[in-house]
Symmetry: C2
Amino acid sequence: MAVVDRRRQVIEAAAKSFSLFGYKATTMDQVARIASVGKGTIYTFFSNKEQLFDEIVHKVILEMKHIAEREIRRDKPFFDNLQRVLDSLLEFRSEHELIIKLSQEKREFGTPQAQEGLDKIEGAIIGYLEREVEHAIRQGEIKPCDPKVISVVMLKLYITLTAELNKLHAPLGKEEIKAYFRLILAEGLAQQTM
Amino acid sequence: MAVVDRRRQVIEAAAKSFSLFGYKATTMDQVARIASVGKGTIYTFFSNKEQLFDEIVHKVILEMKHIAEREIRRDKPFFDNLQRVLDSLLEFRSEHELIIKLSQEKREFGTPQAQEGLDKIEGAIIGYLEREVEHAIRQGEIKPCDPKVISVVMLKLYITLTAELNKLHAPLGKEEIKAYFRLILAEGLAQQTM
DNA sequence: TTTCTGACTATTTTACAAATTCGGTCATTC
DNA sequence: GAATGACCGAATTTGTAAAATAGTCAGAAA
């Protein structure tokens, strides 16, 4: 009981600190202080700073999985589901403090652990998309293709439309993004010749 | 005559040095030495280091424009032309020493001038694609859409398929890239319902 | 007179050492 | 036996002296 409580205190303190200060600027002393725990106590649960960080990243990934699952409606068409899932995932991603902080830390300092954490989160999104694409292929909703390739492309396309484009073009509205996503990926740009 | 010659010597020396050592590690003394010219002479043609660098970047962009124009066959379909142009541009991009060096410098040191130079080159590619997309829309070859948006998406998709994907997936062959590019962008993933 | 030059200067970058901070340990405490 | 925080070596930061560099300009070369 006391053990469980201490572990939770540590995890909560770590989540708070990593979100607020990033990986590098979070010290084990600080985590201990926020958790009102001796520094040694942290090491009874996690063998080092990286493993503690991993735990926090994993919690975020789990949270994202729940969000995604909540958006799936098996009776709706694949592209509708895809749209809703990516929408909610990217909104979560752009609002979650830890992810914002890690992105900033990566840009500013290039901290490898921040990069790895973000990669794990991206990998989880792609893995999730992959299974949905596989399902859609089996259902005959989309043409046969490599789910990994298509998943990566989908995520990149979404990021391009929602974020990268804004450097060169006025930001697109939600409806525009939805329309372009469908136009490009689902229907294709080629003018039907018949 | 002597003036023209000196200017060319400076430009050639600068091109060589920026390609070999990047922006930061290229010194004006070194450029002068390679060009067999006094350092002051450089400043009679270019007001500072950044402007000299700009000249070199512009030469690369011009070269790329020629390469692209060489690939365009007005009698062929848009997607064939697009494929060939992107292919040759990205091959050029991945083999040109200046671009390789600037990419490395950006990754390694984050030199702002290297970043800006690469952005200009990318902007030129997108601008070129934009005009081609406009042409294709006018010809009725592709559906009406914002050429800027589509150009950015096309370039990003191509980079994803040729480079980014390799971190998570076995590299695709040239024919596979071509097939996915068409499948995704031109034909669309959605299974035709009739 | 005009063109070109490299020694010169002010500023930035680097190199290095001292001081500080930090991740991780472990003898002691509770 | 679980929890702690003083302690340790390694890593990072800081302060600063030395070196390098972009840009100038008085004077040499043409």
